[in-house]
Symmetry: C2
Subunit: 278 residues, 2 copies
């Protein structure tokens, strides 16, 4: 049997496997499938969110560039991220607190049950503050300030739509400390270039430092998958690689994909992408 991703109307990925669980929550359609090549897979509204086999690429590249480049990350906010992969990588650092605001408790429950290797017990870490709520609303209302904001959300269809607006990015800027940094995913460069382009422009108006990070993730089809890194001060292209390498070794992070050379390499853009975000 084949499980198909239905995110894109004219192109799809099929993975051999079978559905283990399906549920329509107040927010979205959740599905867990068991596949041969990618282990258990979480689909939200028909789009692959994470798979046991390749989640480490996405999660490592979402966490380590920011945590290693920021001089002293202590308070981290995660919007979304209910599978726990970001938490797993984050708690390798001596941070003080991680607040996670996930809109759909079912995503956490399903991930704990069917994808336990992704969170690896991180939901029990006492540095975690878990809030089940709308991330955009939380950011608007909280008086807290953070060093790092990680937006680990689905694409801008369904409940995640509000997390791609100008207002949301203004809110992120408000909750970030003067040296703060944000990262968010912005989809496939090839198949979803409009998401990347519009969000890049939106973010560039609010943050003095804006970068595109490119990563190739097997189950996210359509060539390079993009992330936008936005900072109030830190220039990621001019960051000291030797310093990052030193921190990386010292913390003994045991990453499967990430290393500091890959971090810098992933900020280099092909010509047509430079054109796209001009």
């Amino acid at each position: 049997m084949w499980c198909y991703e239905t995110l894109h109307p004219d192109i799809k990925l099929g993975i051999k496997g079978k559905s283990l669980y399906k549920k329509k929550t107040a927010h979205q359609n959740c599905q867990i499938s068991k596949t041969k090549d990618f282990g258990n897979v979480l689909f939200l509204d028909g789009a692959i969110q994470t798979t046991e086999a390749d989640e480490y690429i996405y999660h490592e590249m979402l966490v380590h560039p920011l945590l290693l480049t920021h001089p002293k990350p202590e308070n981290v906010l995660i919007v979304g991220g209910g599978d726990g992969g970001v938490l797993r990588e984050l708690f390798k650092y001596p941070i003080k607190e991680a607040i996670m605001v996930e809109i759909d408790r079912t995503v956490i429950d399903l991930s704990k049950k069917y994808l336990p290797k992704i969170s690896k017990g991180s939901f029990r870490d006492n540095r975690l503050g878990l809030i089940i709520d709308d991330g955009a609303k939380y950011i608007k209302e909280t008086p807290k300030k953070f060093d790092i904001v990680i937006v680990d959300s689905p694409d801008p269809v369904g409940p995640a739509n509000a997390l791609f607006s100008k207002k949301f990015y203004q809110g992120v800027s408000k909750v970030l400390k003067p040296n703060g940094v944000m990262i968010r995913q912005t989809g496939s460069v090839f198949l979803q270039s409009e998401i990347l382009k519009s969000n890049y422009r939106r973010i560039k108006k609010i943050f003095p430092q804006t970068f595109i990070q490119l990563v190739s993730i097997p189950t996210y089809i359509g060539g390079f998958f993009s992330f936008i890194i936005a900072a109030k001060k830190i220039n990621f292209l001019k960051a000291k690689k030797s310093k990052i390498k030193k921190k990386y070794s010292k913390l003994n992070l045991k990453t499967k994909y990430y290393n500091p050379d890959i971090q810098f390499a992933s900020l280099q853009l092909p010509n047509n992408l430079k054109e796209l975000v001009k």
Copy 2:
């Protein structure tokens, strides 16, 4: 209607479109499909070879790193490459001669008819010597010497199998001049890691300088797509970027994807790949 790639048994890419032409030649099954997102697509034995929409990524990354890093490329051998995309990029350089050895004339004929934008008239360039024959046999028998060998072949199933053997690589080494360089594709890092691993080992025994280049190509699923660059002398990691940038500007290559920063970035490997080729 959907066109599916059938290269991998447990994972497949579906593209909306319809078949325009099918033919079984003495060497392989050829198919041309017309798709909405990728223009016309060439399938060989069920595997996507090239599409009008994203072929430039593959062809530019196969040609420019070698042509710009070699100090004076004059004689080039292409094994395969019947769609003409390599020729198009190659003839942007002041080379003396390009010999193309393609086993299946049908691939050239179909490409000229259904994918003319890929070769863009390159088959009429008078620097081209076109030979319809087995590339492995040609390499074994020719007394010619080359600066660069580009192996633009399908995966090691069907007629291309001989182009992945120790004997073939020994032959390539024989036809290369003392400063010569070779490049070949070695499939998806994630889905075809055995191809990359075995070929890397084979090539490393023959060539003093061996590198893996990673590129993300939308229609080649499975994360990073890999190339092996093998040189008799040139160390691609230590090549002078400033010199390459100067040549790149001077030649006014008008690449859509390639630039010298991307060339160096694509040689940086994630941790698990370093492990794989240790």
